[in-house]
Symmetry: C2
């Protein structure tokens, strides 16, 4: 079982305390399951530390991840742990007064609006832990410029941790991130015609 | 983004409804991060369905996963969603009246006691969603017989979902499970001498 001991102690001039509080960029990519699920599992630890947690869900369907969303909302409102704000592209971002009707705005434009808000929140240090769910797709598709994302993340102030999920995370992001896990599929019930199940897939 | 559509419809004589409620055995293995974290993320969905959730933590340290544990305890006590029971080997299993003192009982014996309770709970259908955290190690080490585990899981009654985490899941278990995800490490901060961080590792 993991002991949390590093193999080498780096000669980076940082104290142990500084290394213990280093702001991290984490990427969960690959074709297997568990990328987002593990990100929301991490959000539980952040919540438990009393940190403000911000979730930006870059997916079309507003119903996706409803289990995780309900759980984190209950936790955020429990009076214990940190606060939780959950933003969904699928139902129109919460900070937009009048969300455009279906067809009025492209998926791509809505995705960019989400990223603009992430940039504002990073500059303002609104949260201490960010989940950018399915964000890697937008980079892969070229809707958002990966070089800009890396620069914004590199220059972010304070101690803000970010976890980005999605297949096909671009190499520039993988190269920049502090922690990258590739979830690979060994076997999935849908291979055998299994349908998605409540409590399991959502 | 995943659509939840199977590639093939199986000729198994089951209705869609039956396939939607098929009890699943899931395994998160590999050397990367996210195995347990994703299992606890799945537990959020089970909780949201109102299912009784049972966690069996087969790790020596009682402090491990404290963030996830606190979060699931708050959720279980919230009056929304399902109940949560969290059992820890590290502080002596909760169902044992007088936990043996340190050194009085081997790690291996304590692990076996945990598995015996899991068997009783499966027979009684105590929970609908089980997390057997770090259980794969015990099978790998030969402390618990994998063939017995597979048989007990195969014969379990009702609709009980089980997720097993840990490195080195034995091939017999991987072959039996419905869903297997291998978390592989692409990069980890501890490689660069980064120490474990609160809010991130626990």
């Amino acid at each position: 079982m993991p002991q949390g001991k590093p193999d080498v102690v780096p000669d980076d001039g940082l104290t142990t305390r500084q290394r213990r509080n280093r702001p991290l960029v984490m990427v969960h990519t690959g074709i297997g399951k568990g990328k987002s699920t593990a990100a929301f599992g991490m959000a539980l630890r952040a919540w438990n530390q009393g940190w403000p947690v911000g979730v930006f869900q870059f997916v079309k369907s507003a119903k996706w991840r409803v289990g995780e969303e309900n759980a984190l909302r209950v936790l955020g409102a429990s009076g214990e742990g940190g606060t939780v704000r959950w933003h969904k592209m699928g139902e129109g971002w919460s900070w937009i007064q009048r969300p455009p009707a279906e067809g009025e705005q492209s998926h791509e434009d809505r995705a960019r609006e989400g990223w603009e808000q992430v940039k504002r929140d990073l500059a303002a240090e609104t949260y201490r832990f960010y989940v950018l769910d399915e964000f890697a797709y937008l980079l892969h598709w070229g809707w958002i410029d990966t070089a800009e994302v890396v620069q914004v993340l590199r220059d972010r102030p304070g101690t803000q941790h970010i976890v980005i999920t999605g297949r096909n995370a671009p190499p520039e992001l993988v190269g920049f991130a502090d922690l990258v896990t590739d979830m690979s599929k060994v076997r999935h019930p849908m291979d055998a015609g299994q349908k998605g199940q409540r409590g399991i897939e959502w």
